[in-house]
Amino acid sequence: MPQRPPRWLGQGLSYAAIEHLPGRMIVLEGTDGVGRSTQIEMLSAWIESQGFGVVSTGWTRSALMGPTIDRAKSGHTLDARTFSLLYAADFADRLELQILPALRAGFVVVADRYVYTAFARDAVRGADPGWVRELFGFALEPDLVIYMDIDIDVLMPRILNGKGCTYWESGMDLKLADSIYDNCVEYQNRVLGEFRRMVDEFGFDVVNASGTRENTQRAIRRRVQKLLKEMAAERA
């Protein structure tokens, strides 16, 4: 089965070639506390056990921008647009120096969050959806986007047992409610709404993440299996 040619999400990078990318990119999307990192850890180990090299990458994790973004977050002073741009710089750095080279070398790239996170967060903050989509138009379209959906009632205990209702994960900058808990619920509800709106727009594969981690992992592997078979066939 021939691989569908790699595509840019928008305008792309005029100076980067993507004709030959033997690797595959899998994105796990979902809101804060949904369990992405646990699932990615299990998934990566499984893909490696099948004999494929894995490179993992994550939102804000570039060496260049990571510390800058942490510093910006601790200050609570930046406006939403500057934040979007900081995320875009982080993403551009990882795309060109990490993701594309790994795909050229035939790795499976597993991404913890992708540009859809920026789209969701910006939409909740009232930014122009056209601007942020155009900004991230240089992104490569992933081969598979698994969106981990969850009910807010299941999500809230996970957030509280994890990092807790932190300033940004609670959307405190938006001043939606008087108490941090109520603000967090309202913010997460809005983020979930934006992700769900994007399911059709970008063709997400939806996995229900409200159940046990094992059930969620099984559902994710079922979707990834097809890609791995394709890759194995190409290499046969």
């Binding site: 305008q11 990078l13 005029s14 100076y15 260049l64 921008m65 800058t68 510093r71 910006a72 930046l78 406006d79 647009r81 500057t82 741009l85 900081l86 875009a88 710089a89 551009a92 750095d93 060109e96 120096l97 056209g130 601007w131 155009e134 900004l135 138009g137 240089f138």
Partner: protein, 259 residues
């Protein structure tokens, strides 16, 4: 293409004056002279400079040191810096009725980033939130003049400054000339696209400054007569009667503090 903010006049009571041009074009010297003139006339002035926000500057420095900045990352980082300065150093003084003087503006990105290989349309879209300047002076010189001026008294060109990351040569001087040439081409094409006011950057400093002031007087005449706060005990300098709009003018102390 969506309608960009920078195509229509901004809604603020202040005025935005910016200078553009390649390295060595004399734009910073001229802006500094204009600033001193405006201040001596008693106008509330705020100055801001390209790539100067603390947060982004350190990051750019790190990337430059490691020579790891790709054209797109480089471009977005400059826009981060711009967005932060816009929110803190450009829009508030414009809202407060001040004159904002900016050493370089989005046209620098449109010229330099495109010369580095990023798409013209994409970089324009990224800056679509920028307010349109009231006057955009473009100091025009040839790449040859730039090379001559920059190399005088500067022993070494820096890696990114010389465009060594994108030009097909390892010789810094040759690369710098080629890179400046590519930037000049972009700037020259923007004169009509954005209505830049061209100043011949090869003429004497004094002559250029006179021309700048004359253009400013013509374009901002009404604002300039209104914006001078009344001097204590004398209204002789004012050419029009005081209006209520002077009530919220920043004091000289707060203007100084803002620098």
């Amino acid at each position: 293409m969506p309608l960009h903010d920078y195509v229509t006049p901004h809604p603020y009571p202040g005025k935005l004056i910016i200078v553009e041009g390649i390295d060595g074009s004399g734009k910073s010297t001229q802006l500094d002279l204009l600033r001193k003139y405006l201040e001596s006339e008693g106008h509330p002035v705020h100055f801001t400079e390209w790539n100067s926000s603390a947060l982004v500057k350190d990051t750019t420095k790190k990337g430059k040191k490691q020579k790891s900045l790709t054209p797109t990352t480089f471009s977005i980082l400059h826009c981060c810096d711009f967005a932060e300065r816009l929110a803190y150093s450009i829009i508030p003084p414009l809202k407060g009725g001040m004159i904002v003087l900016a050493d370089r503006y989005m046209y620098t990105a449109f010229a330099r980033d495109v010369a580095r290989g990023v798409s013209r349309e994409w970089v324009r879209g990224m800056y679509s939130f920028a307010p349109k300047p009231d006057i955009a002076y473009y100091f025009q010189i040839t790449p040859e003049v730039s090379v001559e001026r920059i190399l005088t008294g500067r022993p070494q060109l820096k890696y990114y400054e010389a465009g060594l990351d994108v030009m097909d040569t390892d010789d810094p001087v040759e690369s710098f000339g080629l890179f400046q040439g590519a930037i000049v081409n972009e700037y020259d094409a923007m004169v009509d696209e954005f209505g830049l006011t061209v100043i011949d950057g090869t003429r004497p400093i004094y002559t250029q400054q006179q021309e700048m002031r004359a253009i400013m007087a013509e374009k901002l005449g009404d604002y300039l007569t209104r914006s001078v706060p009344p001097r204590r005990g004398s209204t002789a300098r004012r050419r029009t009667p005081a209006k209520a709009s002077t009530a919220k003018r920043p004091t000289a102390a707060s203007t100084k503090a803002a620098k």
